[in-house]
Amino acid sequence: MKKLLLLITFIAFNNFLFAQSDKYAGAMQKNIALLDSAMKNRSMTELANNFTRIADAEKTQWLPYYYAAYCTVMSGFVETDKSKTDGIADRAEELIIKAETLAGKPNSEIHVIRSMIASAHMMVDPQARWQQYGAASSENIASAKELDPTNPRPVYLEGQAKFYTPEAFGGGKAPAKELFEKAIVMFAAFKPQSALDPTWGMASTEYFLAQCK
């Protein structure tokens, strides 16, 4: 009887653990699937809150904080009231710091978000902030590429930066197109480390590439 009880407890506990990680993966997948529609519906804040809840409950996973930071910085890009952008970018920064702490060390995807945060700050007043935040944005792109040369997202961001930079400053559609094409090839070849790791960016790259023609 005692043995049976132990066995049952063991199975139940195992089940519980399995259910727990299953629950995590399920919740993450559900929310990751919402990324595209949330961008269209302007409900990125909501999605960021969902990821933050998962992150706070899990306590050891860096990916939910990563996605929360991604959603937050994206909501900053679509915010029309520029006086709010700095606050949103600061919030994204807090989240990515938590992600980096849990990840143990900076990785390519975290630098991608950091680059986007710098760009969000820059957008508030590009002329005055170009020097500080433009440099921070491109430094993070460089670090992201260095840490994972197969990651297509820094290449896509670099293309986007070129796209919005005037031709006289070395930007424009021609150099941007080259990078977007390179990113598309990289997206096709990119293998995420797990089903939950980031894969976003392909659709946006295709959109920008179409704009370059």
Binding site: E46, N49, T52, R53, D90, H121, A128, E167, A168, F169
Partner: protein, 748 residues
């Protein structure tokens, strides 16, 4: 077995009836709906986000005692114990807005701030140096802001009816004694400091903080830059000289050092641009400067210092005899050191300590010369014999300063500090025939101060401070209270008010005093400001009243301080408008100042409008960068109504009276500058080049700054700028880093 069955049943029950619905509304304490907040059951995935009306609704499978949380940035967080047992929970939550830097009102009365910090400021540091009329001089740019005068006959900042000595300049908290090049008669000397040494500038035209003192009118507070981004080398070539420098950043990015040498020689420029004076010694200037910056655990140590030599000599027509000439020459040696340490020392305390030491030596020679430029010694004539002199001025200045700051909750802060300032100035005059006069003035000035920032809400803030000073020369204390408050309206515009008492000792040239018991000169400021800012437009207006008391009156041959019977006032209204929005790709600002001021001080016979104060002053500054041409265009137009001028003479009983007076013509000046960046955008280029062209007084308008009077004869001569206009052409090359932006800014 029965036991297990019932256990299983119990579990099923819990799942079946375990769903709980939670709904409600989230508002701030003023019942304003809060959108986008996260509502969460702690340690679970369950929750939702509030909608635009602050409403929320979600169901949870959690059961039993749980913690419900509400979170939105900028507001205090909320948590409540709830029991989940399948019964719907309805909650109306109200949370308090936090006082945060992004939302809180800023006290801006009396101050123009230029910085690249996040908070929207009226100007950025780039603006300080891309103003066409500034010509690479910080104070040149400030002269396009309200409150400043277009005084061209002497250097310095004349603010709201104050003299240049009523404006003091501080770098990292330390007073700078010779910020401007030594004065040369009739020429406005420039500032010695390169504008790109600074990352932040606060120009206060009144009502400034208790951390600073000894300036009756204005304080210019400069903060030096931190570590450079990258290692780089720079070369400069221009019509007025050449220079080279290096900035080296350590591999671990924790420290840096820099060294620069600049040689200025106006020979070429003066051969091309006709000068009104006969320069027998072309202005030559040499400067070596160095810096180091070391990042510490929670702060930074910074040093900046230079050695500067300059030499100039010129002849002008003598005012008392039109057949004769006055020769003036000046050799200057100026050495400056400033060491600063900023550190977070834990528990919310920060320390800011500074040491500075500088020396200055002016060797001045004046000569009366005939038409063949030969020295004339008219020993029997007291008027003409005084025109031959050798003057040697030496000064030593040292300062130690310590400020402790404690940051409290909700942006509140307390600052405490002390300051000791030492100066020794020597004056050696040798007249015709070996007549000698020497003097020296030694000062020890100690100050202690306390200040608090006090935020009642994001909409109301106050800054209260007091400064206590003891001057050895005055042998007495003064206590100066300062207070300012700011209120933010619903539409984000804000009003602020500042009040303060300010004290100052006499300039050393009026010392030693003729009588004992001299007190401090005193000014009381009252400033009311309204400001409306968006990221692309700024409107602000200020009214002010400044009351002067105990100003120094002077007497005697050398005009030494006699008593504190002087007094005066200044009042006016100022408007500033900046707009980057209305005209595409054009950034412009307009400033206007109305000033009503009168005073009785020094040798004035009575209360009158001083010669350094114009009633109306206005500036228009425009900036446009044409990306296609890789060229920036900057223009500025300044207008000021004529200023009064006086000849004050002494009657037989040594009383001052006005012998003659008048008013100058209105001042008009158009400045223009252009910068071309051929390598712009070539990301692979190793060297970046900037070509600069700048022209002052483009239209060649007649500018008269005042008049010089003959001592005896009824004759006056206008004080004119050194040349009708000045053209500057330069080329700047940076190697190793894209410093294109810096280079443009540096040299406009």
């Amino acid at each position: 077995m029965k036991y297990f069955l019932s256990f299983g049943l119990l579990c099923n029950c819990l799942i079946g009836f375990g769903q709980t619905k939670i709904a409600g509304r989230l508002t701030d304490t003023k019942n304003k709906s809060l959108r986008g907040a996260s509502i969460t059951i702690r340690n679970s995935y369950d929750g939702t986000t509030t909608d635009s009306l602050g409403n929320f609704l979600f169901t949870t499978n959690e059961t039993g005692d749980q913690l419900l949380e509400a979170n939105i940035s900028g507001y205090s967080s909320y948590s409540k114990n709830i029991k989940l047992e399948g019964k719907e929970i309805l909650l109306n939550i109200s949370i308090k807005e936090l006082i945060t830097e992004l939302k809180a009102v800023v006290i801006t009365a009396g101050a123009f701030e230029a910085s690249d910090a996040k908070k929207a400021t009226v100007l950025t540091s780039i603006d300080i140096v891309t103003t066409a009329s500034a010509e690479g001089d910080i104070t040149g740019a400030l002269k396009t802001l309200p409150g400043t005068q277009q005084v061209g006959e002497t250097g310095g900042l004349f603010v709201r009816g104050g003299t240049a000595t009523e404006s003091k300049i501080f770098i990292d908290g330390n007073l700078v004694n010779n910020f401007f090049y030594s004065s040369v008669p009739g020429i406005a000397s420039r500032g010695r400091f390169n504008p790109f040494l600074f990352k932040g500038t606060v120009f206060s035209s009144g009502g400034y903080s208790a951390l600073y003192g000894q300036a009756l009118s204005s304080a210019l507070i400069l903060e030096s830059t931190d570590l450079p981004d990258k290692t780089s080398a720079n070369i400069a070539l221009s019509i007025i000289g050449a220079g080279a420098g290096i900035e080296k950043l350590a591999k671990n990015k924790k420290s840096s050092w820099g060294l620069t040498y600049n040689y200025t020689n106006l020979w070429l420029a003066f051969n091309v641009i006709k000068q009104r004076r006969d320069f027998y010694a072309i202005p030559v200037d040499q400067q070596v400067d160095g810096n180091f910056r070391i990042k510490t655990k929670g702060g930074i140590v910074k040093y900046y210092g230079y050695v500067n030599w300059s030499n100039v000599g010129f002849r002008t027509q003598d005012i008392d005899s039109l057949r004769l000439k006055d020769a003036f020459s000046l050799k200057n040696l100026n050495i400056y050191h400033n060491l600063n340490w900023k550190e977070k020392i834990g528990k919310g305390w920060r320390v800011n300590a500074g040491l500075s030491y500088s020396t200055n030596m002016d060797q001045i020679k004046t000569e009366l010369q005939n038409n063949e430029n030969v020295k004339l010694e008219l020993a029997n004539d007291s008027l003409f014999s005084a025109k031959n002199a050798d003057i040697l001025n030496k000064g030593q200045y040292a300062q130690a300063r310590l400020v402790l700051e404690k940051r409290l909750k909700g942006l509140n802060a307390i600052r405490l500090g002390a300051d000791h300032f030492y100066s020794k100035e020597e004056y050696n005059y040798t007249g015709l025939g070996g007549f000698k006069f020497t003097g020296n003035v030694k000062e020890n000035l100690t100050a202690a101060f306390a200040e608090t920032d006090f935020y009642i809400s994001n909409n109301i803030a106050a800054k209260l401070g007091t400064r206590l000073e003891y001057s050895r020369i005055m042998a007495r204390w003064n206590i100066a209270p300062r207070a300012s408050v700011a209120y933010k309206f619903k539409d984000n515009s804000q009003a602020s008010f500042a009040y303060g008492l300010f004290y100052q000792t006499p300039e050393s040239k009026y010392l030693p005093p003729l009588a004992n018991n001299l007190g401090y000169a005193k000014a009381a400021h009252y400033i009311l400001q309204y400001q409306r800012t968006s990221s692309l437009r700024t409107f602000r207006t200020e009214v002010f009243y400044k009351k002067y008391d105990n100003l120094f009156k002077t007497a005697g041959f050398r005009e030494q301080a006699l008593n504190n019977n002087g007094y005066g006032y200044a009042r006016g209204i100022e408007i500033f408008w900046r707009d980057k929005k209305s005209i595409k790709n054009l950034d412009y600002w307009i400033s206007y100042s109305y000033l009503d001021t009168k005073r009785d001080f020094l040798n004035f016979p009575s209360e009158m409008q001083p010669s350094f104060a114009a009633t109306h002053t206005a500036s228009l500054v425009m900036k446009k960068f044409v990306v296609k041409w890789k060229t920036g265009f900057n223009a500025s137009y300044t207008f000021a109504t004529g200023r009064p001028y006086y000849q004050i003479r002494k009657d037989a009983s040594q009383n001052n009276y006005i012998y003659d007076k008048g008013r100058t013509i209105n001042y008009n000046g158009l400045g223009f500058s252009l910068n071309y960046l051929p390598n712009l955008g070539k990301t692979k280029a190793k060297a970046f080049t900037v070509l600069v062209l700048s022209v002052s007084n483009v239209l060649g308008q007649k500018q008269i700054y005042g008049y010089n009077y003959a001592a005896v004869a009824d004759r006056k001569l206008p004080i004119l700028p050194p040349s009708k206009r000045f053209v500057y052409i330069g080329c700047f090359i940076s190697i190793g880093i894209d410093r294109t932006q810096d280079a443009i800014n540096n040299n406009l």
